[in-house]
Structure formats: structure tokens, C-alpha cells
Symmetry: D2
Subunit: 347 residues, 4 copies
């Protein structure tokens, strides 16, 4: 079958690999119809993630149709239209039992290399999904594939980060970063009842783009975001900051933007082992901080219901639709920030 | 001063009454700029509420400017632009201390007769507001009077009923009744994260009007609402029903529309002392039921933040703006269902 | 195998029936070690529940060891010590998917007759548990069988009713009925942070017994419970009432005991189709009401953790331990209110 | 009047100072009956807090009787028995309006020096309480002074930290530090539904003392706490860690003890401006972190209800009762860890 493979730094090629088969009792094989390139795929592309072998099939955002199911699979049947979660969990270990699927003791991430379970990815004609009952959801009939695609990763990731911030209705939110995940956070915050939402990005074009999603743009190349937001909020700061870039600079910015008693929820992936936490500031100002991989399974069902209702439409961020054969071009465009979101049409 | 007075069944007239003065330490006198006629004012108009004396000044929805403050008032100053809560609470009794302002042991409702504290109403040039610190809120500078007006009663009433239903994001909601409060409930449900929202009204025009607010109209004069909603929800029913009419018929309908484990939250005012509760149905299907006067004070601050953000605009329901002098005409139009919402421009 | 069978009104006999076998892919057969007689079994015993065939094996409270598993069972293995939920759910239907296991479209109650799925009960040497992954939990090593037994029904039932009342820490609770479920509610309320807890029972001995569980006894044969509780609460009433008797009289009492803005959560089983709901009282006082079968699956995991920690010990209510052979005697004692809780030792 | 004054490092003396009078409209003067020495007073005593002038009257834990009230005070009257919050808030600024009293833009801490508002303290015969309506609560008649004393600071501080950890019923908790605040956290966790609670202290005697409060002692001078807790929890770690010591070492320990997806809530006061946050660990394991001064006003009312019910008794930690005259001795004993909690009897 055709599949997008990682070969080397900034080198993705379409290759021909053996199609997957059912290996375990709980496996499901899905014929992929649409896949997408995730911002975190760029970490692999750029060589930030160790342990990825040449030839690895990439991709963890996908929808498709069930092609085959293992003998213990209960919830999906051959022919079902499904969306998969980007991380896969066993559903049986102690942490899964506590609802902490992202902390699964046996799981991993599709197409993300050795450190994440060495599972072949979904930018391919077929993908094997371990523990299919846990990691697949049927797509409601009325929902388009494109919409469901966002439930398996980036919309739900952003949505989860907003929930982790314990957003109360009417509260103000600053989203740092106006890439695809940042834009999802803008949408998710509004869906969950936010009042004013700011979108901060050092690229004016990107920040302005967030206006179309209901945010007030704060282009940090032109405007000091701290000054702007303190002015707007009577010197208090916002109730919630969603950090969607990653790294010490934007984390520190988050602590300057948030009001006393507020919450910082970070979803930007970072490579730093440590960070110089503003302990005294956090102590006197009572700031809550959470950074963590998303627990897609916790939120995907309610996200699918929201998407099905038409209340929110993440497909607006799609800038490019390419055939799977052009995956390399898709990676290049996204890497060079010439694309907001690239969708690969597979079958 | 000029004031709209109740004289008899369906008889409201503008009269000349003595303007209010500060009588208690915590009083505030507000110069009214805009008032509105509430659906519950029609109960007085129609003679449904006992204990209203001829000559009573009507009205409990209003915004204005602070004209005078008693010596213990701390939170508002002369000249402040303010919105008042429709029910007034002392803030000091045991129930207020528990946050149950609508259960205040000394409070009442402005302009609603003897049974509700015998307070002169706000469809007048000035109104005396008891316990002003508790029952007034400063209007944010950027917010229009018209918008704030809805925070003191009907938007917040509907919003509270949705909160009382413990709505989870993505859940489906059926709102029974597409009058002004029903439309507020449609808006509030979406603001609080609802997925699909249905608006049921036996008047097709009213039901269709709800489309403009994001609801799916269910005109019950043409469509069996139970059949329609069970069909749409795969036979389950909706997660939440907001009953915004009042009375046994629509309450019973609510129990037919809600899914097992769902919630019915009623805000329609009713005159029945008892109702034949479907106990066995509720027991086997585990239905939660709540009916109750709104606790405006619980929610008004977050509602004001939502309105200030521009995320929701209840002023869309205003169909008529009349000078205070034409209050009688306003009552007549609203009573005859020729107006959706009547606002009285006072000063 | 030996099993307790229902034959006629107030007639239970130990009989010899064919032991169960695996019939479906998801079945588990459990060798029962301990079972218990539930208050709801007395409804069958007294003939209140239609549709129970002579010879039906009774019982839905049990612990035991897994004896055999169907080919799709994942979470338990032969030899595991397990507790079962009293109602069984498929885990796959739309309502189970929403977490509403007690509303399962295919489930029922073990040993409870035709109207509840016609499943043979667990007061027997072996029991077949449908959808074993959904309806069984492994018992933590350090936990005694007796303790786990209460997690499958009455403790979790009472615990769920307290949670349904949205109890806030420090709130006052009145529990109506000091039978085994009422005593569980007293314990559960305290575990969940209640302040003062009252136990109301018309039998002085039973009410006083609740003292040992931390409640303040209100024997309603001697004391007017409304007067007593209004006096204690400065005329307000309690924040929460748990109704654990069933029927119109105690439901009405509940509405007299609860404060404005309070919550009534009923878990007493009743046979009335309707009840004369105090609508005007509920409206003006803003009372929340919920009555419904327990959703054991929602709460059993956290209950097992609480029991494992030793923080709460429901085994205190056990008054009689009898061999399975003496089940008839157990039913008689419990029916005549000569036993608080009867446990049957099976194997 | 007599008052305990700070003069120099480790030098507290009883002096004679002018009694306070009403200075502002909202002031209340309280005749102190009982005060206590707080662990945070030791920071002053040891010279850790800059900006404390010689002669400053110390103390922020107190109960007493209202002696005089300013003209705008509404909620307390002369003669009322009251407990005060350790930090004082205006109740009127934007942050107080959001319920963030600990972030008040004008408030401070009684007896804590220039950086905290320069308010004279309460280890004295009288104390002036600014904004008395906000910072005092009437003590229920049946509650002893000693019990109420803990509501104004340390019990409520610990209780708030447990709430900030979003503890779910049945969850496991490790409390680092078995000083008075750590013991309060042990009690608060249990009150709020915790399952197993560990008390970690490097002093075996102190750790063992926690057994009397329901905790499992982990003396870290003898036992490796990480190894012990991972062993007990099947390698997962606890759901919640309450850090009640302060400083980088115990904060780092907290991150080693907590399970993936768990929460660390720190209430130990620290002097470090920054801390080397384990960012990669927190990211991959999804740890929530909160450190902050307590918001007493948020929780004091529910704490008072819990204390009034007798469900929890913090007075057990009192090791010494001294007359105010012996305050210096009290400071010395507490400083040398020869006292667990010192109460000063004033009048």
C-alpha cells in the first residue's frame, strides 16, 4: 500500500509498504479515507524527536472505514465510518481504569517512533489500530469526514486544555499562538462559554486571522501583549491563559498575562527538561499551572456531539487539500508556515 | 413623577406620583433611563396575581443612573450607570448568606404587589432600590443600556435555568415556548455549550423565529414534538428540557421529551398548587426536576461579563421601543402577542 | 446447584437447579461466596413486583470468584475475586455510552423477574453474569468480601443518591428511614462531607441505632420531625433530604424538611404511578427533586476505593449471617424487621 | 493595652500600647479572647520577612467579641462573638468582586508588617479589623472559641489547599509535613472524602502523631517515601499531594509521589523567587500544580458549618495554652518545635 514515510531530516516520501493485518484480539484495521499532518509531525520532520527509524510510516490524525476487526472487538464493525484518537490506550491498565488514557501503561502514539510504542502511522492507505474498542469512535451519519478528523486530535487537544483551565462562563482568555492548535483553542474557549478571547501571535497575519474565529488579535510583533491586556482588563490580567506555542518564553509570558487567582494551561510541546518557575509570583498571586499531553478519550465523545450539532466548525482552518501522493509537499508547506492545516486525501 | 400604574384588570395608565426618596440606610434612588415590560407583568395585568392594589407602580426590569444613596451604601455612587435585579434581597439573612438571594427572608419583587414586599416598581422616572449594594450592579462602560437591561431579569433567569439543568457541553436541549424567555433560554443554552437546541412552540411563526437564534424550530401546531425529537435522537430524547411556558401540559410534555437520566428545568410561572407528577416514570428513568424562581444574584456578574464581551446579544428580541407615556399601549401589544419584547424609554 | 428460589407470596425455598454456563461471548460465570438479601428482594417476597415466575432464582447482591469467562471478556480472569453490580448493563448501547448504565437499553436486574430481563439471581452457588466486563469489578486484595458486597448495591445506591443531591461540604442532611439503605445514606453523606446528619424513623429503636453511625436520631413516633428540624436550623430546614422509604407520605415530608433552594433526592422504591407534587411550594422555594434507580456503574470504582481505605465500614449493619440453606429464614427475619441486614454464606 | 510586640530577631515582648479605635466607616474593634501563634508568625520571628518595624503588634489568628463598629458595618453588632480571617480584604475591588479576596488590591495580613498593609496584630487585648463586614464571621452559639479559632486561618488554609487539588472521593493523598498545617490537611482531606491519606515527615515522632488523625505515617528519616508510596500504589503514585513544608526539596518530592494525571497543591510558604520546574515530567505525566496564599473568605463559611457539626475537631493539635503575658515563651516553644500549636488566652 502507499504510505508517507519518514526517511531523514525534512525528508518524507511516499513508499510502498505491506498493508497491516489483525495481529491481536483487539486490533482493528482501518482503510484510511482522510489523514492530516499535525504540528507535532513537524517535530519528527525537524528531527526533534529521537528514536524514529527511517521508513517509519507517519501520521496520527485520520478517519476511515473499518476493514477488519479482531475477535474481541465489540463496538465497531466492518464498514463503519470511524475516527481514531491520536494516542492509543489499552483501556485495561490501572491508569486507563482511572480515566487517564493519556497515561496508559501500554499505549503510545501512532506513527511517532520508538518512544511512543513504535506503531505505524495513518498517513497511509490502511492503518492497524490497537485496542480498537478504546481508540476508535463511529462517526455520526450526518457528520463530514473532515469535521470528525479534528475530534481525534487538535480540536479535542485544545478543548481539553481549556477544560483543564476550569474556565467559568464569561471569563476572559488569552491564547498564545495562532497556529492551528491556537485557533482551535480560540474556538473551544468560546464553545465552553468564554467571554473575551485574545489571540496573541508575533506574526500579524496569523494573529489577525484569529479575528475570523471570534478572537481579538494581539500581534505581538507590533503590540506589547502584556501592556495591551493589562490595559484592557483594568490592570488585572485575563482569567485564563492557554499557551499553544511551547517553551520558556511563552510560558513566562503566560504568567505575566494572567490575573491573581487565574489559571495557565499549556499545550505547547516543549523539549526543555526544566523551566525556571516563577515560584514567588505564583505563590503570592495564586496561579494554577497545568501542562500535559491531551487525554483525547476523556473529551472525544462530547466533542463529537458538538461537531455534529454544527455549533463549531474546525474545518475552517484547512488551507490545503492534497492527495496522499503529495504528502512530501504538504510537509514542506506546513513546515515553512505556508499552510495553516494540510489534509491528505487518501481514498 | 410619571409612572406606569396598575388600576384594574388590563388597565395600566401613566399617572403622576411622588418621586421616591432615601428611607433606609441601604437605599439607593435610581433615575430610570430604560425599563421593560416582563412576561410576569402580564400576570398582574391579567389579574392572576392577588394582592396588587390599584395605583401600584409597575415594573421590575430597568437600568438607570444613581441619583441618591443611603449612608451605608458602598458599591455604587451618585452618577453610576446601573442595572437592578428584578427581585430584591437583603444580603444579610441566613438564606442570603447561603447565596440563596431569591429565598431572602425580607426581600421581594419591585412593582409586584403586597405578596412580594409591596415595593413601587421601575416603570417610572425614579425608583427606590432597597439594599442597593445587593441589588444593583454598575454597568461596564462599553455596554449599552439595552443589553444590561436583560441581565437584571429575563436573560439571567433563562441562563440560570440552563445552569440548574447541569448542562454538559455538547448536550441536546429542547426549549418549550418561544416567547422572550424561551428565546433567552435558546441563547443561554448555546452560550453554555449546548449542542443541538430545539425550540418548541405551538405558534409556527414564533417557533420559526427561534431559528434566527440558532435553534431548530419545532412548531407543535404542525408537528408532534415528541415524535419529532425521539426520531432525531434515535429514540432517546434530549438530555435537557427547559420548560418556559408554565403549567401541567408543558411540564408533562417535558417528561416525554427527556432521555433517561436527563434533566427537566422549568422556569414557566404557574398558578397550580399541585401537579400530578409522573413518579414511576421519573423513578425508572431517573429524571431530575427543578422548578423555581430565578436567583439573579447568583449569575448576574457572569452574565454581565458575557454581555460585555459581545458573545451574546439578547437585544435582538426587542420588537417595540415606546416612550414611558405609551406604557399602556406596550402592555396591550405584549398581552395580545403582537410584541415580542417591549422596552420603555424613560429618560 | 443449590439456589434460593421464589415460589409464591412469602415463600422462598432452597432448590436444586442446573448450574449456569457461558452462553454469550461476554458472559462470566461466578462461583458465589457470599450473597445478601436486599430490601428490594422483599418487594418480590411480598408480591409487589409483577412478572416473577415460580422457581425464579433470587438475589442481586453477591461476591464470588470467576469460574469461567466468555471469549470476549477482557477485564477479569478465572480465579479473580469479584463483586457484581445489582443491575446489569451492556456497555454498548447509546445510553450506556452516555454513562447511563442504569438506563441500558438491554440490561436488567439479576433475579428480579421478567420485567427486569429475566436473569437468574445470585443467591445460589453460581451465577451467570452477562457482559461481565461491564458488570463485575475485581476486589482489591486487602478488602474483605463482606465489605465489597456493599459496593455492588446498597452502599453505592445510597452514595449515588447523596451525590445526586449535589451535597456541598458542611451541609446538613436529613435521611428519612433508618433501614439498611437509610443507614448507608447516613454513612455516605458523612463520607462526602456532610455537616449535621439527621436520621428520621418512626421506629425509635431504628432511629437511635443511627447514632452509632454518626447521625442525630429523630424518632418520628415521639417527635414531630418537621418541628424538630426547623427548630434546629433556625426555621430554615436542611440543605438536603435523602428519602429512603418510598411513597407519597415520606416524599411530602421531605418537601417540608428542606430549606428554600435545597434538594430532595429519593431512593425509596415506590409503586405509585403518580404523586401530587407540591408545585407551587417547589416553585416559590426553588426545590430540586430527583428520584431514580441507582447508576451503580457510575460510582462503584470510587466506592471501592473508599471501602479499601477503611474510611467507611458498611458491614456494621450486618445483623445476621446464615448459610445459603437458611435463606428462607433470612427472608422471614428481614421481612418481619427482626434483621437489619442478612448475609448468606454460600461457599 | 497589653500586646505581643516584635522587637528584634527572636525577640517578642509583651508591651503596653494604645488600644485601637474606629478609624474608618467599615472598621470593627474586637476585644480578643483567644489568639494563636501561627507557623507564619515564626517567619517574622526568624527574620525571614522584611519590612517589619520594631514594636509591631503580632498575630493574625484570633477570636473575640465585637467592642465597637463603624457606621457602615452591617453584619456584626457590639457583643457578637466573632472569628476573623487572617488576611483582610476590602470586598469592593475588582478582585474581591471576583471572589479573589486573597488577591484584594487594598488588603493585607494583620500583624505582618509593612509589605502586608502594616496592620497591628491580634495577639493583644483589642484589635482593629478593617472592613469588618468582609473579615469577620459570627461564631455559631454552640461552637467553642477554640474551634472557631482554626477557621480563621490554618484549618481553612489546609482545607482550601485540598479543594484546590480537586480531590475526588476515594482518592489517595500524601501530605508532606506533619506540622500543625500538615495535620490540618490530613483532617481536611478526610473531611472532603479522601481514601488513604499518608503523612510524610522526616521527624518520626511527628509523622507517627498523624496516625491519631487517621493518616498512615511515613517517617522519611527511616523510610524512603517515594519507594514506600509507589509500592503501596502499585507503582502509580498518589492522586494528590499536599505540600505543607515549603521550598524546592519538598516540591520536587511532591512531583515524585504523584501519579500521572495527578495534582500537586502546595501551601508551604517559601522564600525562593524561582524553582527549577520539572517541565518535561509534568508535560508527559500531565501534572497540575498550584501554589498560593489561601483565600480564607472563599471557604470559611463552609468550614464553620463543618466545625459546628462536630464532624472535625482541629483543637486536637493544641499542645500549649498560655496567658497572653507568656507570648514570648510561646514563640520560643513553637520555634524550637517543642509545641505543636500554642494558644494565647487573652481575656
Amino acid at each position: 500500500m502507499k504510505a508517507a514515510q519518514f526517511w531523514d531530516l525534512e525528508t518524507v516520501r511516499i513508499g510502498d509498504v505491506a498493508p497491516p493485518t489483525i495481529q491481536d484480539l483487539d486490533d482493528v484495521v482501518v482503510r484510511v479515507t482522510t489523514a492530516a499532518i499535525c504540528g507535532s509531525d513537524l517535530h519528527l520532520y525537524r528531527g526533534d524527536i529521537p528514536g524514529i527509524k527511517p521508513g517509519t510510516v507517519l501520521g496520527h490524525e485520520y478517519v476511515g472505514r473499518v476493514e477488519a476487526v479482531g475477535p474481541r472487538v465489540k463496538t465497531v464493525q466492518v464498514g463503519d465510518r470511524v475516527v481514531g484518537t491520536f494516542h492509543v490506550a489499552c483501556g485495561l491498565c490501572s491508569l486507563c481504569r482511572l480515566g487517564q488514557f493519556h497515561q496508559c501503561q501500554r499505549g503510545g502514539v501512532l506513527g511517532y517512533g520508538m518512544a511512543f510504542g513504535d506503531y505505524p502511522g495513518a498517513q497511509a492507505e490502511w492503518v492497524r489500530v490497537p485496542w480498537g474498542d478504546v481508540n476508535l469512535r463511529r462517526i455520526p451519519d450526518a457528520m463530514a469526514d473532515d469535521s470528525a478528523l479534528f475530534a481525534g486530535d487538535i480540536f479535542t487537544t485544545a478543548y481539553g486544555a481549556v477544560k483543564n483551565a476550569n474556565l467559568a462562563p464569561g471569563e476572559s482568555v488569552a491564547v498564545i499562538g495562532a497556529g492551528p492548535v491556537g485557533l482551535m483553542a480560540v474556538m473551544a474557549a468560546q464553545t465552553l462559554g468564554a467571554g473575551v478571547v485574545y489571540s496573541i501571535d508575533r506574526d500579524t497575519v496569523r494573529a489577525e486571522q484569529a479575528s475570523a474565529f471570534g478572537a481579538r488579535p494581539v500581534p505581538s510583533d507590533r503590540t506589547n501583549p502584556v501592556r495591551r491586556i493589562l490595559k484592557d482588563t483594568g490592570g488585572l490580567g485575563v482569567d485564563v491563559v492557554i499557551e499553544a506555542v511551547g517553551g520558556p518564553t511563552t510560558l513566562s509570558l503566560a504568567f505575566q498575562l494572567v490575573r491573581g487567582g487565574g489559571r495557565v494551561s499549556a499545550l505547547g510541546v516543549t523539549a526543555e527538561a526544566h523551566w525556571d518557575y516563577p515560584l514567588m509570583t505564583a505563590l503570592t498571586r495564586d496561579i494554577s499551572f497545568r501542562v500535559g499531553l491531551a487525554n483525547i478519550h476523556r473529551d472525544i465523545d462530547e466533542v463529537l456531539r458538538l461537531l455534529a450539532s454544527g455549533r463549531v466548525d474546525p474545518t475552517q482552518v484547512i488551507s490545503h487539500r492534497l492527495p496522499l501522493e503529495d504528502a512530501a509537499e504538504g510537509y514542506r508547506l506546513f513546515h515553512q508556515q505556508m499552510a495553516t492545516k494540510v489534509v491528505l486525501e487518501v481514498g
